[in-house]
């Protein structure tokens, strides 16, 4: 520059002056620009709260290169961006809080510091406000806290008085309970601007607590009132931790003695071999054992032990009942059962000793008992049929009908049942009611008695009466007729006719005499008295010829042959009874040979035995008739009234033969004839004896 000043002309001088002036203007402009920049920088720094930028701290060149305005501006841009983000977040948070406010399960209300409502949520409206009521701008006191409900200082007042959060517990309103929590919202000066009240509905919790308390009270009442001893035992130590009043009474010990004692000291002390639950692994134990009481006495108990968890600890809950009465009852029952068994045994013995079939039924007509005879008759056994209804075990309809009849009173009924060997038996069922001690009908006893024989005898007796009347009537009619003839017309009769009439009268009277003799004989036999035999000596052949003669001379189609021993012997017999025997056999032979035929009598006699047989060619007999030929009143064909007789002849004959120590037998075939034989032992004759 100096070189330029030295060489410059006048024009140059001017130029220099101009340049100097321009330089001065530029310097001034620069200074003012710098000043302006520093001023703005200081202004910006003042905005951010720091002190001005001193020139000695940062010269102009450094200032420009540092670019503080740029720095602060960029910082402000960042701040503005951050503010926008923050505002956006705050708006979102506000929306969230608003949603939470409305959706909260608690009633929430915001008040200003004068107690006026600024806002409230839907839950609060639901809890407290009637439809159409608006709270905003109004004091809540009279609208939510009715005079009756406001039991203590309200949460708002507490917050305003204390300046801090406060609460009202179990605030009660119309049957519901609330915890009310108040929180202050303060301004920058710490003054309360707003108060937030939160109403937490605890009604269900309060009710649950009350229900729990009630349940505990009930459990305690039950625990004490239950009529059984109950003890709670620690499963680990086996020490009693609780016992009810009944348990203490049974133990006869005070609570302090029982609590803490080992359970085995009192329960199962004698036969304790370990805990069935903790040692034996059982889930439940039910045992009869003894309870040791104070004073050394013991009582029988039925105990039940079960494990229980209370909290995280295991216990044994043991209950026991005094079973002294039950044990005594069991003993009494055992004795009663033994007596009942004994009685049953006796009754069974009696039942079995009854020869007739006997059946005991209950009120429902089910079989309770029966004896062996009944089992055999019905073809069932008691073991299989006990408890079954009669119709389940008895197939015979007639018997079933008889047994199922009206069994409320004693009754008798005849029933015909198949006999084991064919034919049928007649049983008389006799029923008697089985009554309880109270007189109530508990069943029936039915005895089935075989009355076949009785019924047959009754039938035969009935037939006999009819037959006997006929048999007696016939000769009586002849006697009366001929007697009248002799009395009224005797002078008109020839001597032969008169003699013949007297003969008829005699014969018929003799016949009547024989019938009466038969009746007397059978009456004697029936009475059980021994049949008297009047033994005497007699000549055999004349005796037989005398009996046979009327039959030989009897007119009719029969051919009679008699075979006698060639030499007559003297025999010792009851003459009259032998005659009666022979007459009966001959009479039957004639009666049952209505068409005639040969009738043969054969007599054989030795030193020891007299054998006689009478054989005909008559109608013969069936095996059944043959087997019954000696029955009293039995007549082979009772329906044939043309054949006379009382049905007593063969029975009497057999008794007479057997009274002599002999025997009689019959051979017969239907349609071929019959042969009746008997033999009598011959009694030795006294030496030198003669007829």
């Amino acid at each position: 520059m100096n070189d330029m000043h030295a060489t410059a002309g006048p024009g140059t001088e001017e130029e220099i002056v101009r340049l100097r002036e321009e330089n001065a203007r530029l310097r001034d402009w620069q200074a003012r620009s710098i000043h302006y920049i520093r001023d703005k920088v200081d202004q910006l720094l003042g905005v951010v709260g720091t002190c001005p930028l001193r020139p000695e701290e940062l010269d102009d060149e450094m200032l420009l290169s540092l670019d503080p305005i740029g720095i602060v501006s960029a910082a402000f841009v960042r701040i503005l961006e951050n503010l926008r983000e923050t505002n956006a977040e705050l708006a979102l948070a506000r929306d969230e809080i608003g949603a939470i406010f409305q959706a909260a399960g608690n009633g929430i209300m915001v008040l200003d510091n004068q107690g006026r409502v600024l806002s409230y949520n839907a839950k609060l409206r639901e809890l407290f406000l009637p439809e159409g009521t608006e709270l905003v701008g109004r004091c809540c006191g009279g609208l939510i806290c009715t005079p009756g409900a406001r039991q203590e200082a309200c949460a708002f007042d507490k917050v305003m008085d204390s300046g801090a959060a406060a609460s009202c517990r179990k605030w009660h309103l119309e049957g519901r309970y609330f915890d009310v929590v108040g929180s202050p919202i303060k301004n920058q000066n710490g003054e309360i601007e707003q108060v937030v009240l939160v109403y937490n509905d605890i009604t269900e919790r309060i009710r649950s607590e009350q229900a729990l308390a009630d349940a505990k009270a009930r459990l305690a009442t039950i625990f004490e009132a239950v009529p059984a001893g109950i003890v709670l035992i620690d499963a680990k130590s086996h020490r009693i931790v609780d016992a009810n009043h009944h348990a203490l009474q049974m133990l006869k010990l005070p609570r302090e003695k029982v609590f803490g004692a080992e359970c085995f000291s009192y329960i199962c002390a004698k036969d304790h071999v370990g805990c069935p639950i903790t040692d034996g692994g059982k889930s439940i134990d039910r045992t009869e054992c003894t309870l040791e009481r104070a004073g050394g006495s013991s009582v029988p108990i039925l105990k039940t032990v079960a494990p229980v968890m209370l909290g995280d600890r295991r216990y044994l809950l043991e209950s026991f009942l005094d079973i002294t009465d039950r044990k005594q009852a069991e003993e009494a029952m055992r004795q009663a059962l033994a007596e009942a068994e004994d009685a049953r045994g006796k009754m069974d013995g009696i039942l079995q000793s009854v020869a007739d079939p006997l059946i005991v039924t209950d009120s429902e007509k089910r079989i309770i008992l029966m004896n062996r005879a009944a089992e055999e008759l019905l073809g069932i056994c008691l073991y299989d049929s006990q408890g079954l209804a009669l119709d389940q075990v008895i197939s015979d309809a007639r018997l079933l009908e008889a047994l199922r009849g009206d069994l409320t009173e004693e009754s008798r009924v005849d029933v015909a049942l198949p006999a084991a060997g064919g034919g049928e038996w007649i049983y008389q069922g006799s029923t008697s009611p089985l009554l309880t001690a109270d007189g109530l009908l508990s069943g029936m006893i039915t005895v089935l008695r075989n009355v076949t024989r009785e019924r047959e005898i009754e039938r035969m007796k009935s037939e006999f009466v009819s037959t006997a009347a006929h048999e007696l009537q016939t000769p009586l009619a002849a006697i009366i007729g001929f007697s009248e003839l002799l009395m009224n017309q005797r002078e008109d009769l020839t001597p032969e006719l008169e003699q013949q009439s007297l003969g008829y009268i005699y014969d018929k009277a003799d016949l009547l005499s024989k019938i009466v003799d038969d009746l007397l004989d059978i009456s004697r036999i029936e009475s059980g008295r021994p049949l008297e035999i009047f033994v005497g000596e007699c000549e055999l052949n004349p005796l037989i010829e005398q009996v046979v003669r009327p039959y030989e001379n009897r007119p009719g189609p029969h051919l009679f042959k008699l075979h006698l021993p060639t030499e007559s012997r003297r025999v010792r017999v009851d003459r009259r009874k032998l005659e009666q025997i022979l007459d009966n056999l001959l009479s039957n032979a004639y009666k049952y040979s209505p068409e005639g035929g040969l009738i043969r009598m054969t007599v054989q006699c030795s030193e020891e035995l007299l054998t006689v047989s009478v054989e005909d060619q008559g109608i013969g007999m069936t095996p059944e008739q043959r087997s019954r030929i000696y029955d009293k009143f039995y007549r082979g064909d009772a329906s044939n009234t043309s054949i006379g007789g009382t049905g007593l002849g063969m029975s009497i004959t057999r008794h007479f033969v057997e009274a002599h120590g002999g025997r009689i037998w019959v051979e017969s075939e239907p349609g071929l004839g019959t042969k009746v034989s008997f033999e009598l032992p011959m009694q030795p004759l006294p030496e030198g004896d003669s007829d």
Binding site: L45, V48, T50, C51, I71, A74, A75, R78, N82, T86
Partner: protein, 86 residues
């Protein structure tokens, strides 16, 4: 949750007075704004200008960062991190 790997940038401006300290710090924050905002960088400023502890924190807090000031032996450490990492 896995921690984000983070670098640390130490700015030792002890000896500078307040406005300069603030401006230097702001320049550094502006220059590393992205990494700081992403949480991958932590800026540690060492200063012995006590006034700076009253000016730097409000500014960077307003920018959305978390700031903590620690008194060291003869100086202060101002730690600037992403807001949630303070």
């Amino acid at each position: 949750m896995t921690a984000t790997p983070m670098d640390e940038l130490e700015l030792d401006i002890r000896g500078q007075v307040c406005p300069s300290t603030l401006l230097t710090t702001l320049k550094e924050v502006n220059g590393n704004f992205g990494r700081l905002k992403a949480g991958t960088l932590r800026l540690v400023v060492k200063t012995d200008a006590r006034d700076a502890t009253g000016t730097i924190p409000p500014m960077v807090t307003s920018m959305g960062f978390a700031v903590s000031v620690h008194k060291e032996q003869g100086y202060y450490t101002i730690v600037i991190v992403k807001e949630q990492q303070a």
